[in-house]
Amino acid sequence: MIIPALEYYLVLGAALFIIGLLGVLVRRNLLIVFMSIELILLGANVTFVGFAVALNNMLGQAFVIFSLTVAAAEAAVGLAIIVALSRHRDTLNVDEIDTLKG
């Protein structure tokens, strides 16, 4: 099996991270923002895996499993909040959800 060099993992992870970050910053729909957050997490996971392979340390891969578990739980809670919010406010536009503004 050909094992790609560490740089590929890192570039892929960074690309996912940046796409996710831009999505969070730029998009208005809360659902899209949420999906972008998942992308950020994935970027981090790819980086973990890359380092685990490069350093030949399984701990990084184990960490990714935990991270995915947390991401799944987070997705469940986050989606529940989004559903409740859309029912309550009739909108998923983040600009209109500003009740916490000081």
Binding site: L21, L25, V26, V94, D98, L100, K101
Partner: protein, 635 residues
């Protein structure tokens, strides 16, 4: 016998407690009887003690209890019974009792009757404790207590603006004196290490030898206290205003007893004073100056009680003059006789005010003698005693203190002239008062004049008793220098004899002086008769001789105005400045801090936009900056 001494202060105190607790709700008019009973009891015990101690006036003490212990300092409540205390007790309790009886009539219609008869026994208790104290601290406590009673009774009719203002003025003026007293007390504690009379007196020569000058300072500081309490220049201004109180109060507190506390205190501390010729000279000069100063003001006052008030200031000045030349016995003698005839005059003026339906202005009196014969006769006796006509009480005591002053050395001549002039003016203003009040054609409206009546017997009997005192009290000092009071007080004032301050006059000197003072008094009465009775020259033309002088006297040398403008006004101005500083500077700083915090908060508030992407952006930017920083560092 001396063991029952505790009854003397205890009985008025019990009367005070009963009247204070039950007076308003239950006793009401009966408070008068209880107060009288308490003071009468104190008088009886005092007389018994006096008689029992007549042969041996050795100082005795009665320990009651230990009040406070702190380290090696123990404050014992000890009653002192010696010649000086007994003389003071007799004067205080007898005049107090007469005033108490009189007050039943005078205060009859007053809604504050029970309050009056609660304060009055409290005052008597405090005054008795003041003269029986055996310890400077106890003396100071009751010195303040009589001041408090004075304040309460001056402001007795507190609903009257002028009365409450006069009470505050008396209190504040006395505070100034009391600061001096307190400094003197603390100095004695510091230097002597004790506040007990006998220990202080026995240590005094040692201290004077070890630290020359310190005794002068102590004596002067104590004298400042005496100046406040006994209304000596320049702290005399409160006493004339104190006449706002009910007249029995003026008679008891502001003529006969409390104001003499300063004289008593200086006499009590005679072993200290004789060691400091500087302090003695100051006492004598202040006294002599005050005597003349107040007498001149008394000439022009129209309020009958104010004339008497300035007269009291003047007579107290004479007493201090005598103290200052070492004639302690003469001063206490004059204190005692003065208590009787000045108490009599005040009560007489109260009777006049009572009978004329609250008239106090002598310009609107006249011709009252026919309407009030008892008051008039006793008043004239009091006036003759005050002027110093032989053989009334004032003659013997005033004669003796003037004689002692004349014999006391070079300064004595000046003091004698001041004192003699004061005596001359005393006779003038006293008989001006008598002629304006009781004689001549009345200046009252006919309708009011017809309502003038003699006072009830409960008021006239005390007048008669005090008149007997004003006639007879002087005989305890006869023959001059060898009378009963001289033998009695001889041991108390031994220190003056050791200090060489006592000069025994020759018989010729005594007789000549008697003649001179009689001539002075008669001259004064004659002047008053000419001006105010015959009206030749008329009072207006006398006043017209020197209008500026007359204006000066009528306005009391502008001293009250000066104090009001400079001291009171200065305090008010300073208070205004402090208030401005507080409102603008202190509060300004506090408000500024608040404003800055609010401004910064307002600025920071703008960061909380509530827009999710802004927060996320700042998180990302912050992370990027931290990363960049570490990357730079890693290089």
């Amino acid at each position: 016998m001396v063991q029952v001494a505790w009854l003397i202060p205890a009985l008025p105190l019990i009367a005070f407690a009963i009247n204070g607790a039950l007076g308003r709700t239950y006793l009401k008019k009966r408070t008068g009887i209880i107060a009288n009973a308490g003071v009468l009891g104190a008088l009886v015990v005092s007389v018994l003690l006096f008689v029992a101690q007549l042969d041996h006036a050795e100082p005795e003490t009665v320990s009651l209890w230990t009040w406070a212990v702190s380290g090696d300092f123990a404050l014992d409540i000890v009653l002192r019974v010696d010649a000086l205390t007994l003389v003071m007790l007799l004067v205080v309790t007898s005049v107090s009792f007469m005033v108490h009886v009189y007050s039943i009539g005078y205060m009859d219609n007053d809604p504050g009757f029970w309050r009056f008869f609660t304060y009055l026994p409290l005052f008597v208790f405090a005054m008795i404790m003041l003269v029986m104290a055996n310890n400077l601290l106890v003396l100071f406590v009751f010195w303040e207590a009589v001041g408090l009673c004075s304040y309460l009774l001056i402001g007795f009719w507190f609903e009257r603006q002028s009365a409450s203002a006069a009470a505050v003025k008396a209190f504040l003026t006395n505070r100034i004196g009391d600061v001096g007293f307190l400094i003197g007390l603390l100095l004695i504690w510091h230097v002597f290490g004790t506040l007990n009379y006998d220990e202080i007196f026995s240590l005094a020569p040692v201290v004077e030898a070890a630290r020359p000058g310190i005794l002068t300072l102590i004596c002067l500081m104590l004298f400042v206290g005496a100046m406040g309490k006994s209304a000596q220049f320049p702290l005399h201004v409160w006493l004339p205003d104190a006449m706002e109180g009910p007249t029995p109060v003026s008679a008891l507190i502001h003529a006969a007893t409390m104001v003499t506390a300063g004289v008593y205190m200086v006499a009590r501390f005679n072993p200290l004073y004789v060691l400091s010729s500087t302090a003695m000279t100051v006492v004598a000069l202040v006294g002599a100056f005050t005597a003349l100063f107040a007498a001149t003001i008394g000439l022009t006052q129209n309020d009958i009680k104010r004339v008497l008030a300035y007269s009291t200031v003047s007579q107290l000045g004479l007493m201090f003059m005598a103290l200052g030349v070492g004639a302690f016995t003469a001063a206490i003698f004059h204190l005692a006789t003065h208590a009787f005839f000045k108490g009599l005059l005040f009560l007489g003026s109260g009777s006049v005010i009572h009978g004329t339906d609250e008239e106090q202005d002598m310009q609107r009196m006249g011709g009252l003698f026919g309407k009030m014969p008892v008051t008039g006769a006793t008043y004239i006796i009091g006036g003759l005693a005050l002027s110093g006509i032989i053989p009334l009480a004032g003659f013997w005591s005033k004669d003796e203190l003037l004689g002692a002053t004349l014999l006391s050395g070079d300064l004595g001549y000046l003091l004698f002239v001041l004192g003699a002039l004061a005596s001359l003016l005393t006779a003038v203003y006293t008989f001006r008062m008598i002629f304006l009040t009781f004689f001549g054609k009345t200046r009252m409206a006919a309708e009011r004049f017809s309502h003038v009546h003699e006072s009830p017997r409960v008021m006239t009997v005390p007048l008669i008793v005090l008149a007997v005192g004003a006639v007879g009290a002087g005989f305890v000092g006869v023959p001059p220098e060898h009378g009963l009071i001289h033998n009695y007080l001889h041991d108390t004032f031994l220190a003056a004899e050791f200090a060489g301050l006592v000069h025994v006059p020759s018989t010729v000197f005594v007789l000549a002086l008697m003649a001179v003072s009689t001539v002075i008094a008669l001259l004064g009465i004659l002047v008053a008769y000419g001006i105010f009775m015959r009206r030749s020259p008329a009072p207006e033309s006398v006043a017209g001789l020197a209008p500026p002088l007359h204006a000066l006297l009528v306005n009391k040398y502008y001293l009250d105005d000066f104090y009001d403008a400079v001291l009171a006004g200065g305090t008010r101005t300073a208070g205004g400045l402090f208030a401005w500083f507080d409102l603008n500077i202190v509060d300004g700083v506090v408000n500024l801090i608040g404003l800055v915090v609010r401004g910064v908060g307002g600025g920071l508030r703008r960061m909380q936009t509530g827009r999710l992407e802004n927060y996320a952006f700042s998180v990302a930017l912050g992370t990027a900056l931290v990363l960049a920083f570490y990357i730079m560092m890693a290089r």
